[in-house]
Symmetry: D2
């Protein structure tokens, strides 16, 4: 930690700050500058709160040096984490394709799309049984029957399933059905949910909050990890900005930035970022160009009658086009990507 004193700070102010540092059990290292004093602080553990130095007279700014996350940090674990879900691996240089409908609407729709996904080579199946919706008056998901449909789709296709958890009390139930648990954007700082999901020890797909900084994102991963799971995949899905030409602004720069400070895999959701089918393939390719470890994509074979987010769903033929482009691009980049081998009996 570095304490920057005001140019007008008195000797007494400086002494008070040093006393406080020592009271906390830390060491102080004064660095006299031309116009002001800076005081280095060592011995702190880097994970505490702001320790009331900025409240003292004469203090201009307190600058933290150590990052607040540990388990998620590349300093603790320099090599990339591999997150395994069934036979799928995130973080090994390949691109994992998770695809499926935004919501589980009924058995027929989900099985039909799951069959399509496996036949086109997707690696995992997505689908929401519990949908966090902005409006209380819109479809909120099928609940447990939706989970049963997802489990049936997995039996049928062999695709591991990821689905969202929205309530700490229901986390164990969802974990019985799903191979990977999803934390939604709006719940990235629902810490009670993170604690419960973390305790289950299953792989987690955690979406970045709509205005979460990189540090906050990794602190939420830290909640999951410190509670028991070490298999966390982060998902960038667009952030809130002034720009109105897309539903959210896909922040591809977070991908190299995260990889520099963390060992966790990160994937991209171009569907929710854009909200618009025609932008999904360009944003998917942008994500892979920036180094994403995978993609999470909405696909629907009848988007006009989808209950949720139809306009952003790729049609099966769009999805096939995306898969072909990915085969070409990953090969050009020297990265792994193979369509899943169909193994339906």
């Amino acid at each position: 930690m570095l304490v920057i004193m005001d140019a007008r700070a008195s000797d007494e102010d400086i002494q008070r700050v040093e006393n406080r540092i020592h009271e906390l059990g830390y060491k102080s290292h004064p660095i006299p500058g031309a116009s002001r004093l800076a005081i280095g602080v060592t011995g702190n553990r880097g994970i505490e709160d702001r320790i009331y130095l900025e409240g003292l007279p004469g203090v201009q700014q307190v600058i933290p040096v150590t990052k607040p996350y540990k388990l998620a940090s590349r300093e603790i674990k320099p090599e990339n984490s591999l997150v395994t879900v069934g036979d799928v691996v995130f973080g090994n240089g390949g691109v994992v394709m998770i695809a499926g409908p935004c919501a589980v609407e009924n058995r027929d729709q989900t099985l039909r799309i799951a069959d399509l996904m496996v036949s086109l080579g997707a690696h995992m199946l997505r689908g929401g049984a519990y949908k966090p919706r902005t409006s209380p008056y819109t479809f909120q998901g099928l609940g447990e029957p939706g989970l049963e449909i997802l489990a049936e789709a997995r039996e049928r296709t062999g695709l591991p399933v990821v689905t969202e958890v929205v309530d700490p009390g229901l986390a164990p139930l969802v974990a019985q059905y799903a191979d990977m648990l999803q934390i939604g954007t709006r719940n990235m700082q629902n810490f009670e949910l993170l604690k419960e999901v973390g305790k289950l020890g299953k792989p987690v797909l955690m979406k970045r909050g709509m205005s979460a900084t990189l540090d906050e994102t990794l602190m939420s991963a830290e909640y999951l990890m410190s509670n028991g799971t070490h298999d966390v995949v982060v998902c960038e899905r667009g952030v809130r900005t002034f720009a109105s030409h897309a539903r959210n602004t896909l922040d591809v720069s977070v991908i190299p930035a995260l990889k520099q400070v963390s060992h966790l895999p990160i994937i991209v959701d171009p569907s929710h970022a854009s909200g618009n089918r025609t932008s999904v393939i360009p944003l998917a390719l942008a994500g892979v160009g920036a180094g994403a470890d995978g993609l999470l994509v909405d696909v629907h074979d009848d988007p006009a009658h989808a209950l949720v987010d139809g306009p952003q769903a790729l049609l099966p033929e769009d999805f096939e086009q995306l898969m072909t482009l990915l085969e070409n691009v990953t090969s050009a980049l020297g990265r792994r990507f193979e369509r899943r081998q169909v193994a339906i009996g």
Copy 2:
């Protein structure tokens, strides 16, 4: 709803859109312009999802006309809502002062500050027993023992108590102790929590999310209201922007904007917005100038040893200064504001 067709849309595209509108049971009203056609849609209920018109060929944009909230809307209820908590009323033109420590740290600290608050004329007591913290390694609140301390503080001072709920499963427990339940910023779109808290029927203080639009904020109020409580007070506490001179950017413009479209009261939290004691009084006065129905302020008599957010807490003497300024300013504005009469036996 208004559907804007592309200038290059074909007759067939237009027919397809009209068919879709009729399929949905709505009426279409074509409005021919110089370069393109717009189609007015009537008969929809205004609360549904995007109904897959923007997915159709030739459609440039779909513009919703009706707001998605109903119960929170001033169109349904033109006069201001009065929200009553004990003997305190929000929304009657007065300024309600809610003050106290950020967190309940221990019995002595909370009772001491509660006594101070009542002696200086605050109207309600705030204090967190469950603290949603960015880091899993920092103080997370006392839990139920904290609720007991708050209840004791209320007995002692007569001040109604507001405290945060972070877990749907714990909502009934918190409701046994608190007079008003708080939904925190990070949980504004934790819809499961909103449903459970709404069902309890108690008054709710709902903080605006860090990047929530006005519509989203009112949709979260709608979750609470459609589940059972009608006593919702919104709280502006700063939003996420590029600006780094304050912890968040207090958005005073949301106050007149909300009052135009909704009947709900809105208050301001200058402490969490600024993160810095010296800005709290200016931001509090800004909020009242913009028309806020109340203030939520952190106060601590020993901020150097506060477990949470000490640097933003007003000292008792700062709080007294704020109360005096409020007496003067509300009188200048023709608004009600009286310090609470001390009634300690």
Copy 3:
């Protein structure tokens, strides 16, 4: 400056950084921490570019300690600057009211509104002769004839006049007519314009850019000041955020933040911030509550026929109401505010 080394930095990395610091003629102060080394740098002048320490291997972050502005800094000049325009003073604890039409549309309109302004007690007259418009197809201002009308309005009313300069080449011309030169939001980082306007030595009203940080804002003031004028008044007029309920988000928190680090006066423009007449008075009062040294307000007596920004202009009766509220509120806050004495022959 503080250089934070990566936890994995080698001795060689550290040596390279220290060599670079010494090559630049600065002193290095190593501060060993538990997990990493930080190196304090002293002897730098605080105004240079990033000096290529962050480009070196093993460097995690370089944190500047000294602010890049000097003349605008309160450290150089602890007491508030008083900026005098004719008989009007900014920065003495009072609230200066600058009012008038957004644009000079014609002689009659401007003189008529100027007469109104002086009769209602405004202190200065605003009006644009050169209008920076988003669209090349809309009214761009009258140019020099507009300046002549403003000069005539000043003769007639005694009100000092502020008007915008948009082109470095025209700055001397505008300075012949105006008492104070305005730099518009979109030109806050038009450095060539700042240099030319600064050289004229006249008082300047500099609007904050739509996404300018506080440091950038003060650096633009520094351009003006280092080129010759010391009379700079900053104007907050709303910033770009995700929020869509107002044209821009008025950032009242910048007022106390600026006053902490700079001696310059700062005023607020509630008209351009909101874009909407009904929010102007609430935002004006918010600005004064937060400590603004003045207001810049659009007024029009026939907004339906205004060529620019009619919907945000206060009507004369609204303006009278605002002036009365300001008399009351400034008195409640112990601040100076008197309507200008009418001195029309």
Copy 4:
């Protein structure tokens, strides 16, 4: 244009709005809804100001339907524009590589780097002779001698040169030396500069402003085009958001969005977006993945001694790696990309 009336609007309010529409010479088309009236407006030209309908009583919102730009719109010109600079073409499906130092520092540095660029296959040379710097105390560029150096570099290498114009008065001078004129981010809404540069009729590289919407960006292109040049290339270089892990947030979603509404080419500047060498290649590939027509990249062979932005400059070996990756990726995407043939005598 669509006028949404308040649910509580009176018949008189509605009549007043219709009268105003007719007074403006437009036609009104009332669309009665369940709770409110909407009024379609036709006959307007789509390029005017807000025409004071939102200022009338009972009006809730005015929604523009027609985009304010014409020349930049794909509706006017459905096919992609090809912008030709020397023998380089933007917009034909290929990827144009513009590379070179951020600033022209001296003759030796610029010629040396230009030789490198041509030998590695870049298509155009970049380099700033006039640098808009945030601080008045840092290097502001060599001015005309810098232009002479750039012209010499072009003679020597055959690479067309793009360089920035910062002052309307100097635009003709810069145009004598440069093949393409650059408008910088901070000047995107310096309308006087746009007018002067537009009049010169030369190709222009216009950087998007740091918080410019897509409409504003295209309106600035419209300024250039309506004044005389039709050869405008837009450049995305990152926008201002809350995120601090990169200097700016590269907005790749603007690429497909712009292409949908405009025929202009758009390229990406990953160097200024990231501010950090290690992110430049990932962001460059993201831009190409999203469909960018080219890249603008800082390269320096001695970044430790660069006068401007050294930490973001690619080293020659990084640049070679990027060129190889681009060869592979463009081929995978079916897009054109060939290194420029070296033609040094």
